[in-house]
């Protein structure tokens, strides 16, 4: 026995068997590295395809074909006291007819010509004048979006080679449009309306203002509820709760809740918030409440983990000089956990921002032509707006759906960027 222990084994590190073994170990390492690389290339490739296809189909919605028309309002005889009551339809119609020298055409052809411009041209001019009454004094230029078929034509989505019977714009329409182009009144500026207009039945006027404001208020409500409740729950469970069967049960349930499909939270919101509490339908308040329920479990888990990650020595240091538990938590542990908590909060809010199903169930897919001004106004949200637009038949909504997705993605990237910034800026190391 003792002889066996004292015997020193000599190893030939260059024997073929050992060399082959070493070689295969290196090969395994190289394979692992290759798999990882392939996985990353794969993921990045799909991401590129996603973003690329969205940009390809959506980039045209970021510009809008418009016509500039000069109207001399001093001659129109508008009553300054009752701007809204003036005959805007007549004024704008005349101006547009003048623009294309179409006054001499018969009534029917005039009508066809006017179809080049958006239906709401008269209202756009009226609203512009109400916003700036000084425009009544003389000539001023108004920008009128073209209607969707001509917007598509201008963007090359409608091919002139297609037989006339198979496209929405006739050869005559095209000729009238080309005449306008030749006059130099047609332009394709950046489509600010996409961000600042509310929804509309007309693609050329439809924008995301309603959806962005609805999403904003929903996220505000979601944050206001889930952040304090989540942190309080996590602190109690982590720092105060005794470890027994009940707290185990609570913990398991919180983990389960984090995995519940979001549509279930929507059903709950429908039954409880709309059904029992009678809260207003389609309101960001309800949307925010539902999203808060959905966010809470994740937030509690993240907060608990980050509280746990604060070294026990800090807790002992605080308690050791006579800090109460509450002081130890609020003066030392929570501030140290906060960067992680903030990161987790922002990432779960970003997830809530992209959540569609629960909002559909509580009616946040309503058709709203004005932006929400508070948490009680009926409104849509970005993901539900995308859902609505993707369902719309007009050609212009195809590009707008992709554009809206890009806007949503931009918000998500922004929020995740903030999260990363906070983590890097405030993370402490021990």
């Amino acid at each position: 026995m003792s002889a066996a222990i004292s015997q020193v084994q000599t190893v030939d590190w260059h024997s073929p068997a050992i060399e082959a073994r070493r070689k295969s170990r290196y090969a395994a390492e190289a394979r692992l590295k290759a798999y990882g690389l392939i996985a990353i290339v794969f993921a990045l490739g799909f991401l590129a395809i996603l973003i690329g296809s969205l940009i390809y189909s959506g980039h045209k919605a970021f510009v809008q074909t418009v016509a500039s028309v000069e109207i001399d309002l001093s001659a129109a005889g508008v009553d300054k006291a009752k701007i809204a009551d003036a005959n805007w339809k007549g004024i704008v119609k005349q101006a547009l007819l003048d623009l294309g020298d179409a006054k001499s055409l018969p009534k029917r052809e005039q009508k066809k010509y006017l179809d080049i411009f958006t239906d709401s041209a008269a209202y756009l001019v009226r609203d512009a004048v109400i916003a700036d009454p000084s425009r009544l004094e003389g000539k001023s230029t108004f920008v009128i979006p073209l209607s969707d078929p001509f917007d598509q034509l201008a963007k090359g989505e409608v091919s002139r080679q297609t037989p006339e019977a198979q496209r929405r714009v006739s050869d005559k329409d095209i000729a009238a449009f080309d005449a306008l182009v030749a006059k130099g009144v047609i332009a394709k500026p950046f489509n600010w309306g996409l961000l600042f207009n509310a929804d509309s039945r007309f693609p050329e006027l439809a924008g995301l203002a309603g959806a962005i404001s609805g999403s904003f208020w929903s996220i505000v409500v979601c944050f206001a509820i889930s952040f304090p409740v989540g942190i309080a729950a996590a602190i109690y469970l982590e720092e105060f709760a005794p470890k027994n069967r009940w707290t185990d049960l609570i913990e398991i349930n919180i983990n389960n809740l984090a995995a519940v499909p979001s549509v279930v939270f929507g059903l709950l919101g429908l039954a409880v918030f709309l059904g029992w509490f009678g809260l207003p339908r389609s309101a960001p308040l309800v949307g925010g409440l539902v999203l808060a329920l959905m966010t809470l479990p994740t937030l509690i888990i993240v907060t608990r983990v980050s509280l746990k990650a604060v070294p026990g020595s800090i807790r002992e240091a605080a308690l050791g000089i006579g800090a109460s538990k509450h002081e130890a938590i609020f003066h030392h542990i929570l501030p140290l956990a906060m960067p992680t908590v903030m990161t987790g909060t922002i990432i779960s809010l970003a997830r809530a921002l992209g959540e569609t199903a629960p909002l559909l169930l509580i009616g946040m897919n309503a058709f709203m032509t004005s932006a929400a001004h508070g948490i009680f106004d009926a409104s849509t949200a970005l993901p539900t707006q995308i859902y609505i637009w993707s369902d719309s038949p007009e050609r212009g909504f195809v590009a707008r759906t992709s554009a809206a997705i890009l806007v949503l993605l931009a918000f998500l990237v922004l929020m995740n960027g903030i999260a990363i910034f906070l983590r890097q800026r405030f993370e402490r190391r021990w």
């Binding site: 240091a317 308690l319 050791g320 000089i321 006579g322 800090a323």
Partner: protein, 271 residues
Amino acid sequence: MNMMAETTTEPKQGQTMSDPAIKMMGKNVTVHYGTKQALFDVNLPIRQNTVTALIGPSGCGKSTFLRCLNRMNDTIDNCRVGGEITLDGQDIYDPSIDVVELRARVGMVFQKPNPFPKSIYENVAYGPRIHGLARNKAELDQIVETSLMKAGLWNEVKDRLNEAGTGLSGGQQQRLCIARAVAVSPEVILMDEPCSALDPIATAKVEELIHELRLNFTIVIVTHSMQQAARVSQRTAMFHLGNLVEENDTDKIFTNPDESRTQDYIMGRFG
């Protein structure tokens, strides 16, 4: 050199001080972690203005006993303490005792330096601030300064009080923790292997400091180093397997212990 002279005279002073008053007393202290018993009927007096060293091999219960003295064991879920521990004759496990007040009176310095990740000033000022020991900024500044002086750190940090406490060297961090404990004017300071994470030079500084602190505070120190126990303490208690083997003057323990187990441990025959 001056310091050396002082250290050599210390033990003699300790002897001439005939039996200092008992500050804390453990009577039949037992501790269970769940079903496992960690301490068996420990009876140990802690004398005023004396450094009491707790020695013994790993897992012998010396740290457990130390943590009973300011009820830090309360933070461990399944830990039960039996028997009686008194501070100035009052049972500290009595329900009427406020644990926050107790921990202010019985401060603690931990094994690993654990300054708050805040400025040096804030580290020291935190205790006085939560206990309301200073009425204004000037008083607080004064407490911070004297505490850092008592911890022998003032000259090294007086120009950078607003820098992070975690940016100091290990030894400085530990002295900062001592300053933080001293700042709330405790009566007893518990030290749980305060030098185990420090290099010999930093250790020497902390030991020097313990000598000075003894004049104002009662100190209980857990240590793995026999030499350290011999250098800094006047009384030594030897623990083994959850029992108190013996407790006596440090000189006696290290020269002529009553128990053979103590002798064996000090001589390095086990542990």
